[in-house]
């Protein structure tokens, strides 16, 4: 008798030895039912599967707003606010300089004179 024949005969006998006692069968049935209660069912389509994956990673559809959209909105509003503040600061500085130039005793032509510039530098030393 070769290996295959021996194995086949042993398999037949092992199958006949599968008559288990009622207690063991009941335990196996309970285990099977518990396992089935926890079966993981995947979404049937690719799109639903992708959506499930994304929402799943984000913790579900209800938490996508606080976890992703809200920080992005805060960031964008912050950038807009910073930009406007910088614009107003620049405008204020220009206003201040303009006011100082216009209200000063020195005529405007003096600022265009290169000699006046050189005199200012010399006198500051």
């Amino acid at each position: 008798m070769n290996e295959q024949q021996t194995a086949h005969r042993i398999k037949q006998l092992l199958n006949k030895g599968l008559d288990l006692d009622a207690g063991t069968l009941a335990r196996l049935e309970t285990a099977r039912k518990q396992a089935l209660a926890r079966q993981r069912i995947e979404a049937p389509s690719f799109v639903l599967g992708w959506a499930d994956n994304v929402f799943g990673r984000l913790g579900g559809p209800t938490s996508i707003i606080p976890r992703m959209l809200l920080p992005m909105a805060v960031l964008i509003l912050g950038l807009i606010a910073i930009n406007q503040w910088r614009d107003s600061q620049t405008a204020a500085e220009i206003e201040e300089i303009d006011a100082a130039v216009l209200t000063g005793d020195l005529p405007l032509d003096a600022y265009l004179d290169k000699g006046f510039d050189a005199w200012l530098k010399r006198s500051s030393h």
Partner: protein, 198 residues
């Protein structure tokens, strides 16, 4: 190849998973019992394996379930061995309560007479003979080296092919063939030594 694996690659429905588990649970229990030699532990191993399969791979195609389940079952048995090893190490270190030789090593023929007393005597003689033969085969299977028994049962009882058995066992296909051949020869020799011709 099992008929379960010829049903294509459709995802397993709850009913199909239920049918699959029902079709393998007894063999799985016996496999675990051969390995760990304790029915409570064997039941726990089967239960853990079923839970892991359903939780992690419950939505896999039906055709993939047999191999996945066998892989989970063998890993769970191996985990049990590891825990046993650690436990026995602590027991050896801190306890002197050595119980000596385990009862499981006893020859089943020695207990067959008393076991048979509880069964009705009106059954045919060949049925009694067959039940004795099954007990002897199960006993000899338990005595096989773990890897040989694992390869033999996966290959010939679970009907995995050589490549699938190798994948489950984490070894080469050549090793599977060697283990199977040695197991079959060892079983045949052991049965011949008892005067049993299959």
């Amino acid at each position: 190849m099992h008929p379960d694996r010829q049903k294509g690659s459709s995802l397993a429905s709850p009913n199909e998973l239920a049918e699959f588990l029902a079709s393998v649970e007894r063999r799985a229990y016996k496999q675990a019992l051969f390995a760990v030699r304790d029915s409570e532990n064997a039941l726990d191993i089967v239960q853990d394996s079923m839970l892991k399969l359903a939780e992690k791979y419950g939505a896999k195609p039906l055709a993939e379930l047999p191999m996945l389940f066998q892989r989970i079952l063998q890993n769970t048995i191996r985990d049990f061995y590891r825990r046993q090893k650690v436990r026995s190490l602590w027991v050896t270190l801190f306890s002197s309560l050595s119980s000596g030789k385990e009862d499981d090593d006893a020859d089943p023929l020695e207990t067959l007479a008393s076991a048979d007393d509880s069964k009705p005597r009106d059954g045919p003689a060949d049925r009694l003979e067959q039940s004795q033969l099954i007990e002897i085969i199960e006993f000899e299977l338990r005595r096989l080296p773990a890897r040989q028994r694992q390869a033999f049962l996966l290959r010939y009882w679970e009907e995995l092919d050589v490549a699938e058995t190798a994948a489950v066992m984490g070894c080469s296909e050549g090793s599977v063939k060697t283990h199977c051949s040695r197991a079959a020869h060892a079983l045949a020799a052991a049965l011949r030594a008892r005067g049993i011709d299959l």
